[in-house]
Point group: C2
Chain length 297, copies 2
Amino acid sequence: MSLEFLKEYEVIINENIEKNIDKIRRLDQSQSSIIDGMEYALLAGGKRIRPFLCILGALIGGLEKEQVSNFASGIEFIHTYSLVHDDLPGMDDDNLRRGKTTCHIKYGVGEAILIGDALLTHGISLLLGHIDGVSLENQVKAVKIMLDSIGLLGMIGGQAADLDQEKSTIDKLETLEYIHTHKTGKLLEGALLSGATLANSSDKIKNDLLAYAKSFGLAYQITDDILDITSSLEELGKPIGSDLKNEKLTYLKIFGISKAKEMAQMEVEKCKNNISNYGKYGNQLIKLADYLIERRK
Amino acid sequence: MSLEFLKEYEVIINENIEKNIDKIRRLDQSQSSIIDGMEYALLAGGKRIRPFLCILGALIGGLEKEQVSNFASGIEFIHTYSLVHDDLPGMDDDNLRRGKTTCHIKYGVGEAILIGDALLTHGISLLLGHIDGVSLENQVKAVKIMLDSIGLLGMIGGQAADLDQEKSTIDKLETLEYIHTHKTGKLLEGALLSGATLANSSDKIKNDLLAYAKSFGLAYQITDDILDITSSLEELGKPIGSDLKNEKLTYLKIFGISKAKEMAQMEVEKCKNNISNYGKYGNQLIKLADYLIERRK
């Protein structure tokens, strides 16, 4: 199936990311490799799903793409920070990400810590950049939604629980659900909701989008677990079977592959039901959910 | 000399930090050690000089302490994040900080990365908390000042250059100045300026405070370098001579101890000249600058 519509947003986000990196680079006097590492991590591939969700939330609420491109890029900066820190020794200790050497292998461990820190800090700065036609009240609300989604009560909580379970041997569905709804889900929810908040959307719209994002996050994670087993190194860009090797708790481990596939399909259907009345942009969100099931990486 | 006035602010900040940690802890379901690590790092000691500077900037501009205590605590969260990440293997790799075991020794390396990330994220959330009697425009301006002061063009740039120089053997005054004005100075400046900005202070006041903060930062760093040689493990709370061991570029290495002391004294005089017309609170800033020279840790 075609994801041409996704390409259009990818181009906007990539241009915006490069513009913002150039801006920081021009002002940076540290003569360090941090700005190179930020660019390297940001441009390593990625489908820009989180910025896409943010832009779609804003478009459904009546804003234009151009108004939220900086904010949406800020979300990709923040997502990228989480990947760079996740790959570090002491965390997942991964050498490959999206087929490329990870930051700490290429730039050094201390540098990768700072690359992540800088991505987070500048990401939040981008969220706070001036937006024509959006009230500061709504923007600050949207930024707070993002901060909540990535703090200890959101993404970091999920990362922490993930780190803990690598040390324990308890297979608990509850833990697995906590990890995924927080490590992956919260940022996806925050991206879509912050876009809707920038557009001053009604509670009805926000609730529908939140329900979509919750099912989307779950389907996303289940297919990730499946791909870790069924994909190839070439397609996935990182060694397959790494969850198994790291004794990670996954949906496959608990439910087996056919039940996991069924669960992912069910969540995708829920996605569609929640968003069926939102015209062209709702339709793009539906296509994205369908793509989840079919993706190979 | 007495620093009784500093105690008063320390109490306000410590109470506020504990209140905010309790709030996060009540909501946290991750069952991880991250919240414990955040509290441990935040309550490890520290004189709360950065929050003090922020509050003083606000007081000079006519605000009340209570209005800015959350914002000021946010700055301490952010300062503490920078210490936790600085101590990590790959960075300074320190086992002791303020006489206590560092976070990664006590909680693990992955956990310490997340503890720092959470401190930064929640610190910024605190900066964005509602403030009675301060316009959202001024608050967002103040938050942007803080973000600039801790990003790659500020504190992180200084940390990166510091990391680089440990690998190189070039003794360059220019590099040393860049490191210190950025690694230590920018956050001190940001703290004082953001307080003044919350209070909607005039450009004249902001320029005077900025000049104070610049000299203060330099004097602070020079005395830090001196204490690394002349203090004791007991007083300093970390091994003395560690700069020498790590082959760090310091003011002592370039100028020798007596010239370095002279330079610190000169910067303290500059501090005083810039802030002599600001009544009671200006006087407290002057006392703090004097304390710099006399401190033993």
